[in-house]
Symmetry: C2
């Protein structure tokens, strides 16, 4: 059974569709203000144009973050219509980071299409990402809403955190698995995944005129849910059903990824940790990957990640209930959080 | 005689030194809030640290832009002390673009030191540039000044223009000289050089509570002065005294740069234009460069650029006098504008 078969899954899918419908005109008209060649890269990246500039409908991803902005605003009694620009700004900031990450990681595919840098070159992809980041903050500054100042400060601070996360991710690639601590690894996942989910929820709360404490709790809700997602995603990268993950069995192990269950296993001080470390030092074919998966499990990495994911999700719900005590009002956010942990963000 | 020997030159040098002294603590404390590894790249780029993280005093450039912010604020009757954050934000935005331009252009040296990407790698330089841009806009948003919203919108819009200018610059590299029009070339120079000088002056005016018309005129003053600088810089790249420019004779021609006098010459429809186009198609040694310089001159490129530079400078002064009718109050800005056109920015 996939998530879209469950009631929550169907609700989240419908919610995301509605929110995309509301935010897309704002996003599209913002992108249309970009100067020619920069706009072309951006519209390609968002799936609205083919490489040759002709119209496309390739789909710009799930757009979880703008949905979180609008749902958070509504949950806290605000009018989501006032938060549409903030929602578009968050989506621009997310996509700026994707554009640059693809350049940095030399990833060739994004949303089933060639990445922008492979089509337009590295220079144009870097510059288009820069322009999208500036556009995100211009959008907020031109919002004409007094709440946009606090929103800008939060979004800019979050982008700095995203940058630190990306930097840490690259630095980890150069280290041997034993040199990466679990704290570093959790910190990197928080910065790369949690921070912008948290900022999305916080911005929604700001546009609902929520108090400082509620804004903080909404930020924490998004962060914890993001970390829960990352833990589950890492588990799926090792033990996930290939039919569901779209990856081959043990793909993350074959790539010798320093994912959270692996780093937890390596830090366990067990004999299985030694075995795993030695497997990570050698070439990793399918049979070595199967032994590595077994070693991660015996070293406690799988259990740890499952418990951590459950713990993070429960912390997320605790924070959410602090900001939105009425469970009915929090329903959309719960659906989105569940969707994120099961289907990614 | 160099500019620093003239009264205006000495005044500008002293003014820049005072403004650096005022802005640096703001800039440094902002950079110190960046997360570890990102901060290190930024402090290296600004000349405050060596590659190994030990303290340095390499000098962070002339810092023309923050000086323009403060001088514009003062000229329009504002308190420059209130514009220090805006001045630091402008300098951060400028340095973000330098960091990324160095990556994109693969330049190995900046301010007599190895560029950040050659020291820390491309990924870290891109990410540090991103963080510096976000920091610039965070600084304004956290300013606590109601004028910061308009300042943010202007700075963000200007960064988008910078991006378009950088994109155009890269695109021109791929074209043959005949394919680049003079309008394209002027547009690129305005975006790459004029826009941020204009925004610096406009931000200073905003923090002096200047009216819309004055802010617009200050923006135009900075833009026109920036274009005058670019024209003179391009002339120096062909006919400049190597002892003064620090470049070899005809350096820009040897690099087959599509500078403004060259593009103007090519667009002249003269026999000399034909000759220049043919020289630009072949290999360019010192003797070919000398013939190319001669062809640019005979095709009218040198005269055109000199007249344009004078015209732009006179337009700059016209705009300045609209915003600051009292010539005494405009004195610092005049010194800075003259300094920029003679010594670069």
């Amino acid at each position: 059974m996939t998530i879209s078969d469950t009631t929550e899954g169907r609700e989240a899918v419908a919610l995301l569709e509605r929110s995309r419908g509301a935010v897309q005109p704002e996003l599209r008209s913002a992108l249309d203000t970009l100067p020619g060649a920069v706009r072309r890269v951006a519209l390609y990246h968002f799936g609205w144009e083919h490489a040759d500039g002709s119209p496309a409908a390739a789909g710009a991803g799930k757009a979880i973050r703008p949905a979180l902005v609008l749902a958070s605003c509504r949950a806290l009694g605000g009018d989501p219509a006032r938060a549409l620009r903030a929602a578009a700004a968050v989506e621009l900031a997310h996509n700026f980071s994707l554009l640059h990450d693809d350049v940095i990681d030399e990833d060739a595919t994004r949303r089933h299409r060639p990445t922008a840098w492979t089509v337009f070159g590295t220079a144009d992809a870097i510059v288009a990402g820069d322009a999208m980041l500036a556009l995100a903050l211009r959008l907020l500054a031109e919002d004409g809403d007094p709440r946009s100042v606090a929103a800008s400060a939060r979004l800019a601070a979050c982008v700095i955190e995203l940058c630190a996360g990306q930097q840490a991710d690259c630095a980890f690639e150069e280290l041997s698995p034993e040199e990466v601590t679990l704290d570093d690894c959790l910190g990197m996942a928080t910065a790369k995944t949690g921070a912008l989910l948290g900022a999305s929820c916080a911005l929604g709360a700001l546009y609902a005129d929520a108090g400082e404490e509620e804004v903080r709790a909404m930020d924490a809700f998004g962060r914890e849910a993001g970390l829960a997602f990352q833990l589950i995603d890492d588990l799926m990268g090792i033990w996930g059903d290939p039919a569901r993950t779209g990856k081959s069995v043990g793909a993350d192990l074959c790539a010798r990824k320093k994912s959270l269950p692996v780093v937890a296993a390596l830090a366990s001080g067990t004999a299985a940790a030694e075995e795993l470390a030695s497997l990570y030092r050698g070439p990793m074919g399918a049979s070595a990957a199967a032994r590595a998966a077994d070693a991660v499990e015996r070293a406690g990495g799988r259990d740890w990640a499952q418990l951590q994911a459950a713990d993070r999700m429960s912390r997320a719900l605790g924070e959410l209930s602090r900001a939105v005590p009425d469970l009915d009002a929090a329903g959309d956010l719960l659906s989105l959080a569940e969707f994120v942990t099961r289907r990614g963000c």
